[in-house]
Each structure stands twice: as structure tokens, then as C-alpha cells.
């Protein structure tokens, strides 16, 4: 379980997340959805111990999270900050030297799956292939928990599809937990065990994605619209 207990996070005078209390199962795939600025990235960083809450507490499997948890939690940033001067194989060696859970064989299997040449320099890659490389070095870690911040953002449909396919192929949903923030809700939908909706720095709801179809007869995107409309009527 990843537990947020009364968590507030502020940046100077701007509140990024306010009084969030939620228990997210530690296994399976959780989609984190919501409009821009609703707090998705902040929620992911707090879950990984990359940010500290100003109020409240974030715990993972019963213990407060901290930066030390990066040995068992893998994080994919929405920023393109991988080292441009490396070749892909050098990046893989570097990541393997930093993370004991890094599985080189799996990394090469994924490169093959995505038709990437290990000898290519990262600075010469297209944006789409950089997106693929980021996914490779993140999923190659046999981490307990994967935090993927906008892995599909700004990428073309073919790249998005290959990333979604690699998630199905290379994530072990019975052993690993995945939190994915995304705007591509419909595309991600078949991959999600559950979806967590954020709006204006608050968690509105969390629901099992098959249960949404069963109970409401809509997919997660339709449900999210429904939840947002409900909120607008309240305020």
C-alpha cells in the first residue's frame, strides 16, 4: 500500500497538493489522471520520496518514504534529462552501475523489441526514440514500484503504441506496482487496474477500471468527465 495521510505540498506560495488522504494498492497499474496543474506529478514524486510533504505523511508498505527508497522505486521523469553525450549502450551500463536491480538482459531485449540500435548516440535520437529509451532504462529495473510521469506525452501514435505494448510485455503486474500519470486516458485504459482522479490539488476519487465499465457503462475517460462535471456542480 502507498498511503497518503493528510498530505499537503507547497512550492513557495503555490499549493501543488492539498490535504490528500488516499491508500493506493502497491500492486498493479494505477492511472493518475486530471487536468494540467491538478497535482499529478507532485503526487508521483511524493510517492517516490523525491519530494517531502509540508504536512502529513507518505508511507510505502508501512514506512515513511524517502530518497533512499530510490533503490526499490524506479522513476521516469516527464523531462528529457537523460545524458545526451552517452550512446544507448553506455547509458545502459551507467544505469546498471547505479541500480543493483537493473537487468541488462531485459534492457537489451527491450531495445530489440523497439528496434533501437545500442550504438546510437542519445543526442542524435528523435524525440520518439528518446521517449522509448527512457522507458527501456526505467522498465529494465526490477523495481517493486515504477513511477511513470507522462510516458506518452508529446509522442506520436506509433511510439505511444510501442510504449504501451512494452508496458504489457515487460511489467510484472503481479509483483510490481505502477503509477502512471497521463492525459492519454483512453489509450491507457486497457492497461489500468484502477484510476485515480485529481482536480485542483485534490484527489476526487479512485476506482477499479473494470468496475467503472460494469457500474457506469463508460470507460475511464467517460468516468473522469462525469466526476469532473459532478464537482463543477458542487462548487
Amino acid at each position: 500500500m502507498i498511503t497518503f495521510d493528510g498530505v499537503t505540498k507547497k512550492f513557495l506560495n503555490h499549493t501543488a497538493l492539498e490535504n490528500v488522504t488516499i491508500e493506493i494498492p502497491a500492486k498493479g497499474v494505477t492511472g493518475v489522471v486530471g487536468e494540467n496543474g491538478s497535482g499529478k506529478s507532485t503526487l508521483l514524486k511524493l510517492a517516490g520520496g523525491l519530494l517531502r510533504p509540508d504536512k502529513g505523511e507518505v508511507t510505502y508498505k508501512g514506512a515513511p518514504v524517502s530518497r533512499k527508497d530510490s533503490s526499490r522505486i524506479a522513476y521516469l521523469s516527464e523531462n528529457d534529462h537523460i545524458y545526451a553525450f552517452f550512446r544507448i549502450d553506455e547509458l545502459i551500463n551507467y544505469q546498471a552501475s547505479q541500480f543493483p536491480d537493473f537487468n541488462k538482459q531485459r534492457a537489451y531485449d527491450m531495445l530489440d523489441f523497439m528496434n533501437l540500435d545500442p550504438a546510437q548516440r542519445i543526442k542524435t535520437l528523435s524525440k520518439g526514440n528518446r521517449g522509448r529509451v527512457k522507458i527501456v532504462v526505467t522498465l529494465a529495473r526490477e523495481a517493486e514500484l515504477l513511477l511513470l510521469d507522462e510516458p506518452l506525452s508529446g509522442l506520436d501514435p506509433i511510439v505511444r503504441r510501442s510504449i504501451i505494448q512494452s508496458l504489457v510485455s515487460f511489467v510484472d503486474v503481479e509483483a510490481q506496482g505502477v503509477l502512471i500519470s497521463t492525459h492519454e486516458v483512453s489509450e491507457m485504459d486497457p492497461l489500468l487496474d484502477r484510476v485515480l482522479v485529481l482536480r485542483q490539488q485534490h484527489v476526487l476519487d479512485m476506482e477499479d477500471s473494470e468496475a467503472i465499465r460494469e457500474q457506469f457503462g463508460v470507460d475511464t475517460a467517460g468516468w473522469m468527465e462525469h466526476i469532473y462535471a459532478r464537482e463543477r456542480n458542487v462548487y
Binding site: G28, I164, S169, L191, E210, R213, E214, V218, D219
Partner: protein
């Protein structure tokens, strides 16, 4: 992976429909070994937990049988498959009848409509 799902129904049920279809058409005869959960998940582009749910649901209804250490197989019990066929036919006919009745058609009109449809040259394969 170019698979599109109907948004209004759970995905595991839609995969059940696909598997039922494969079995009834005889594409997957009795005793056929099914792909692994992960392989089918990759084919459909869905979460492997969804395929697990599909398999356990089909085991519960007896359509699939799990053999320990060997995998999941289409049942060799012909009676179960016949029953499934009848059940699906009944279900589709019921949907058709509901649709017709919602348009205000009487049973006699529906019967006549089917006869006319079958006599029509365009549909003489029926």
C-alpha cells in the same frame, strides 16, 4: 494489438466473447492449448490481470480447464461446448427479439419478416 473495445462493457467480458467465438466456430477445437496469460495480454494490448480474470471466469463456467504445470486448455467435454453454443444462440435471439419488440413488431410480423428475408435472393445462403 489493433483491438478496439466497446467502452460500455468490462474488457474481460469482451475477451470472453472473443474466446467463446473461437471455440464455437471450431477455430479452437476441444483440447486446444490457450496462449499464456501474458501472450494473450500482449495480443489484446491489455493488462495481464484482465486476461487472468477472463481465464478464471471461463474455468468457473467449465469452458476452459487448467492443468497444473501444463497450461490452460479448451474443455474436451462436448456437452459443455454444445451448451455454450445453445446459450449464445439464445442470448443473441433474445437481443434480436427485444430490439424488434422495442420497434413495436408483433411475433407474427417478426416471423414473416424472417421468412421474407430468407427467401430474398440476396440472402439465399441462409
Amino acid at each position: 494489438m489493433a483491438y478496439t473495445f466497446d467502452n460500455s462493457r468490462p474488457i474481460y467480458q469482451q475477451i470472453i466473447d472473443t474466446i467463446h467465438g473461437n471455440i464455437i466456430r471450431g477455430e479452437w477445437p476441444p483440447g486446444t492449448k490457450l496462449p499464456s496469460v501474458r501472450a494473450l495480454a500482449v495480443d489484446f494490448g491489455v493488462n495481464p490481470n484482465t486476461v487472468s480474470r477472463t481465464y478464471s471466469e471461463l474455468e468457473r463456467t467449465g469452458v476452459l480447464e487448467m492443468k497444473r504445470g501444463q497450461g490452460t486448455f479448451v474443455t474436451e467435454n462436448e456437452a459443455t461446448i454444445q451448451q455454450l453454443k445453445q446459450q449464445l444462440m439464445h442470448q443473441r435471439i433474445k437481443e434480436f427479439m427485444n430490439e424488434m419488440e422495442s420497434l413495436g413488431m408483433s411475433k407474427a410480423e417478426i416471423r414473416q419478416g424472417i421468412d421474407t428475408y430468407r427467401k430474398d435472393d440476396d440472402h439465399d445462403n441462409l
